[in-house]
């Protein structure tokens, strides 16, 4: 051993040591990396497109193990773009944010909300642009929001918040009841999903042409679960469907029509959570 130490130059020995340690630790590190990434403790490497878009300082920060810091800074920057109604920049910034922190559900929800709801609303109001251009951009932003949500759902298949935000675009902006129902259906069985999603699925399916029978089966199933499901909107939708599908009287629910009742009591009907209006 001492002969080796005397005869071989130290630089060579150190290099051999580094290489040997590198080779030994690589399989351990690969294993640990897998465990860390699978559990979500370690963020996966940012995508190539995100790396291209990072500014030099953000890239250094990312390389310095400060991805969360960079991501938070970019979220604040995105809010600036939102304030300035700079939607292209906002989209680019969120592309980097979600690449840096793909497991943070709120980034996906925020990006979907900004593009699908805020940017489209801005197109409805922006008088500076010609009508045709506004209509075109309205659709473009709505679909960009949906695309963000789809990517988020792929990344976080357990998240119900992302499809709920996506459904809002279909419902409020594109007024596509069938798509809205489809998205709610995907979201309603996810872990932690709120109970109203099951009713919403039924309500929008009821207004999706050709799906009335399916909607009726679903809603009547909910109705039979018990009194806690006997919301005014649910009863109203069932009554509408009973008429549309010409359900025999013996099978129809006995509750009075909530609209008629409310007229009588001069009470307001049940409003949807978040003050949403029901589709026509």
């Amino acid at each position: 051993m001492s002969i080796v130490l005397q005869k071989v130059p130290r630089t060579i020995l150190v290099l051999i040591g580094l290489i040997l340690f590198g080779l030994i630790r690589t399989p351990f590190e690969d294993n640990a990396r897998k465990g860390l990434v699978d559990s979500g403790m370690l963020l996966p490497p940012p995508g190539l497109s995100a790396m291209d878009q990072l500014s030099q300082s953000a890239l250094m920060g990312t390389l310095g193990g400060l991805r969360s810091l960079v991501a938070t800074y970019l979220v604040l920057e995105a809010y600036e773009h939102f304030s300035n109604k700079d939607w292209e920049e906002l989209r680019n910034t969120y592309n980097v944010v979600v690449a840096l922190e793909p497991y943070d559900e709120s980034h996906w929800v925020s990006a979907t909300w900004h593009l699908g709801i805020n940017a489209t609303a801005n197109m409805e109001l922006d008088e500076k642009l010609p009508k045709f251009e506004r209509d075109r951009r309205f659709k473009e932003y709505a679909f960009q929001g949906i695309e963000f949500a789809e990517r988020g759902m792929e990344q976080l298949p357990e998240s119900y918040a992302i499809p709920v935000q996506m459904a809002e675009i279909y419902r409020e902006k594109l007024e596509d009841n069938c798509a809205t129902a489809r998205v709610y259906k995907n979201a309603m069985d996810l872990p932690g999903a709120p109970g109203y999603l099951r009713r919403f699925y039924g309500y929008f399916l009821a207004n999706c042409p050709g799906s009335e029978q399916e909607a009726y089966d679903h809603l009547i199933g909910l109705y039979r679960e018990g009194r806690h499901q006997h919301k005014a909107t649910l009863i109203k939708e069932i009554k509408n469907l009973e008429k549309k599908l010409d359900i025999p009287w013996s099978l129809r629910i006995s509750d009075p029509d909530p609209d008629v009742e409310s007229m009588k009591r001069r009470n307001r009907p049940e409003s949807l959570p978040g003050g949403l209006s029901l589709p026509q």
Partner: protein, 308 residues
């Protein structure tokens, strides 16, 4: 002159000294702690506290839970940054400075093995880094907890004013905020930052054994640290962008030689609420131990032949 008799008689042989002594490592480590404390390095904690107060007063346009989550991420990210930067700078100031000031000369002329000196310096730095991390965590915890309490009471007030939420619904909302607040799991994030800073300190000690000055050590260490974060990037990006066999081989060599620091950035995931898998955590602790031992031995390989 001496307590011995004045008549000329030869002195007795010295007491036997052990070939390796943890007591000597401990002596050097505690002297390193004193050195770093008296160099007023803890002033950086003051800077950290100011930054944290600043972060705590962020007015982020988001829901309380989201805002708390962002504050927490920035606070812990800053803590991680301070920890590894502190590890590099303080380590780089120690050995090269002992060489420049020739204090090493007097230390190594006592019965001290060079490996004891290296381990002593490393443990001293780690003790200071650990203490700093605990202090930084306390600062963060106070800030996060005060924000959390503020948000919770504001939300309860708002929900009570609305009068349409059941106690269960209110509890669920409070829980949503609490999940982003001060959770016991965050201490594991501090441990993660400590593991990273430990590896950084060991690598810096290695670099400082052949570097000529503190500044050179700091620059090279930071460079190695940055490259160490690009492991997966190197394989995913540069190797897919080129057919150049030289570049591909160079990337492979870098991956083998430079430590994989990216792997040690798992405090981010924990702060974001990822579940902590004990087995993986132990794996990382083991890996850190491996890095410390190997890098101190490599340092010794250079240092043992160093002539002063």
């Amino acid at each position: 002159m001496s307590e011995e008799s004045s008549e000329k008689s030869l002195r007795a042989p010295a007491k036997a000294v052990p070939l390796f002594s943890f007591a000597r490592v401990w002596t050097i480590a505690s002297s390193t702690v004193t050195q770093l404390v008296r160099m007023k390095t803890f002033y950086f904690l003051l800077a950290f506290a100011l930054i944290i107060v600043g972060i705590g007063n962020f007015n982020i346009p988001a829901t309380p839970a989201k805002e708390l989550s962002m504050i927490k991420k920035v606070a812990f990210g800053t803590m991680d940054l301070f920890a590894w930067l502190f590890a590099i700078i303080s380590t780089a100031l120690l050995i090269p400075r002992d060489q420049e000031d020739r204090t090493l000369y007097t230390i190594l002329s006592k019965p001290v093995r060079r490996i004891e000196y290296l381990f002593g310096k490393l443990f001293g730095v780690l003790a200071v880094v650990a203490t700093s991390l605990v202090a930084m965590f306390v600062i963060c915890a106070i800030m996060i907890y005060s924000r959390e309490t503020l948000y919770v009471s504001a939300e309860i007030q708002a929900m009570e004013a609305n009068a349409q939420y059941t106690p269960e619904e209110m509890q669920a909302q409070v829980e949503l905020i609490r999940q982003q607040g001060l959770r016991p799991e965050l201490t594991v994030a501090v441990l993660a930052s400590f593991l990273k800073a430990s590896v950084v300190a060991a690598v810096t000690i290695f670099i400082s054994t052949f570097a000529s000055s503190s500044l050179f050590t700091i620059i090279i260490s930071i460079l190695v640290f940055l490259i160490g974060h690009a492991h997966s990037l190197l394989s995913n990006y540069w190797t897919t962008q080129t057919d150049n066999i030289f570049v591909i081989q160079a990337v492979k060599v870098i991956k083998v030689i430079i430590p994989n620091f990216q792997l040690f950035s798992f405090s981010e995931g924990i702060v974001q609420g990822a579940p902590i898998i004990a087995a993986v955590l132990w794996q990382m602790v083991g890996l850190t131990g491996g890095y410390l031992i190997v890098y101190v031995l490599l340092s010794l390989l250079v240092f043992v032949d160093k002539e002063f």
